[in-house]
């Protein structure tokens, strides 16, 4: 039954493939090393405060898109209420730092992880309710819960209502002011990426992907689906809450409509979609492309809503031409080319 010649050929092909995949791995490692170095050195290379301010927002959105993807990208549940966690983080920092009269300075950064924790705590009951539903119902429910949060921020007494809440203003010199927030943002980003990598490589992540493909089938194979979804949801809320807190400190003053911004989820989801759902690099790329664009529009045309038109057009383009997003499309094309080369190399 076994044909010796037929067996020998694939082995050759395997060797060619293995050699190439080692090359690819090396190239990928080098790319990520360069990418990290660039992120770290960015404020040194571009010290202009206008540029570093854009960089702070970009790092915040890279983190948020990565965290959003860690849940929605891997589970297939599209959540559009993560602004509730962003706002919760923002208000956690603003309210606590004001109430205990925190001295402006580095100490306030310690409230950033606390913002993440409070957002994560809020995500537990929300997840328990919303994750009972699926698909469209889930999407609508997350939006509804978000609006409840926005309403609460406007109407509760300790949030300062519609006049908002101020955060301590540090007396750092204008030159390096943004840099502190930028590096704090990088730490948050590192946390969000680490969480994503843990999910991607673990058994937990495999279960999450199985839920994405067929939740009932996964349950029928012993996967504790509710628990898996909830843990991913809460982990995602944690990172978003952290950058929410950082955002509040960076702005110095927050208002309900900005901390709980319905467009937040639109931006974050578009970033993840554009780059590629369920990939590590996709949301990073998406945020790197879109957030500076939005900031540029805001600065250049002082029409802060103009970017919505661009976003809408981009959304359409992505769905029509690259439904899987940039990273999976390009990776697929590269893999196909490698495969062809390997075939040819063997011939």
């Amino acid at each position: 039954m076994t044909d010796v010649a037929a067996l020998a050929e694939p082995r050759d092909l395997e060797q060619v493939r293995a050699r190439r995949s080692a090359l690819v791995k090396g190239a990928r490692g080098a790319f990520w090393a360069a990418f990290c170095a660039l992120l770290l050195a960015f404020p040194v290379i571009f010290p202009n405060p206008t540029v570093t301010s854009i960089a702070v927002f970009t790092v915040i959105f890279m983190t948020a898109a990565t965290a959003w993807n860690a849940f929605s990208g891997y589970s297939g549940y599209i959540a559009l209420g993560h602004a509730a966690f962003f706002g919760t983080g923002a208000y956690t920092l603003a309210v606590i730092s004001t109430d205990i009269h925190m001295a402006p300075g580095y100490g306030v950064f310690s409230l950033v992880p606390l913002g993440g924790l409070v957002a994560a705590a809020a995500a537990v009951p929300i997840g328990l309710i919303a994750l009972r539903t699926r698909r469209h119902t889930f999407v609508v429910l997350t939006i509804a819960i978000f609006f409840i949060f926005q309403l609460l921020a406007t109407n509760l007494s300790f949030t300062g209502g519609s006049s908002g809440e101020a955060t301590p203003a540090p007396a750092w010199s204008a030159g390096g002011y943004n840099d502190r927030f930028y590096y704090a943002g990088l730490v948050c980003l590192a946390v969000a990426v680490a969480v994503t990598l843990l999910i991607r490589r673990s058994r937990f992540g495999l279960q999450l992907l199985a839920i994405r493909d067929d939740e009932d089938r996964a349950a029928g194979l012993g996967v504790a689906v509710t628990r898996v979804k909830l843990v991913a949801f809460v982990a995602s809320a944690f990172s978003v809450g952290m950058v929410g807190a950082l955002y509040a400190y960076f702005l110095g003053q927050i208002y309900p409509q900005f901390a709980f911004d319905p467009l937040f989820d639109l931006s974050v989801a578009l970033m993840a979609f554009l780059g590629g759902l369920g990939t590590v690099s996709g949301p990073l790329l998406g945020a790197l492309l879109l957030e500076p664009l939005q900031q540029y529009f805001t600065l250049q045309f002082s029409a802060s809503d103009l970017y919505l038109v661009v976003y809408g057009a981009l959304f359409l383009a992505v769905i029509l031409f690259m439904p899987r997003g940039v990273v999976p499309t390009v990776a697929g094309a590269l893999a196909a080319r490698r495969e062809r080369r390997a075939e040819r190399g063997r011939a």
Binding site: I199, F204, L209, R212, D213, G220, L221, G222
Partner: protein, 260 residues
Amino acid sequence: MTPLLEVSGVSKSFGGLRALDNCSIAVAEGEIAGLIGPNGSGKTTLFNVITGYVRPDSGTVAFRGLPVPAASPAGVFRLGIGRTFQITRIFGRLSVMENMLVATQRHESWWRSVARSAASRAERGRAAELLEFVGLARFAGTPAGRLSYGQRKLLELAYVLVADPAVVLLDEPAGGVNPTLVNEIAERVRELNRAGKTFLIVEHNMELVMSLCHRVTVMHQGAAIVSGPPEAVRADPRVLDAYLGGEDDELVGAGGDARG
């Protein structure tokens, strides 16, 4: 001796339709039990009740003499009852190997499942063995969505076996599969049965049922009407009635008198 799996007096209605009507069946340890019946007689619904996908209106399911948790597919699977679906359900965007690993059972908390890799060397080895067993080893890295229909059936069988369930429920394993693969599947089932595994098989391919099963139960309109060795069931007039009655329904529309 208590049967390995025992369904007693299970009923289930969908709206006005009585899909299961006081249905009782038993499967003994070590046998290959067959379940046949005309289309719509409730076979798949019975599988759904046993495996926790559908909550029965009344009746009980017992495994090794103990009640099976209702409406908990994960709980039922962990007890040792595995199943495949009439229309195969695989994880299309995961690789064939990853499909296998989803079914691997571990008793660990969620935080350990985050910290640990998708599978240990031993778990991978076991999964690879089973892929070899069903002849899918060379597709280990392929996205499962690219497999042919018959290959998906084999994959579903293989990943159910990963957890080493005591009894496996197969819903039409030969449906829509080419004859060579049907023989392949039958051979795998026999081999596993010789090693001690129990099967309950729903199948329309009578030749296969009669040659494979030790005992056959016939369902009709939601109830189990006859149960016995294949030859006896084949000769039973009630079975003929059930099938002919069903056909009459389709042909004439009313067809009540055919059953007398």
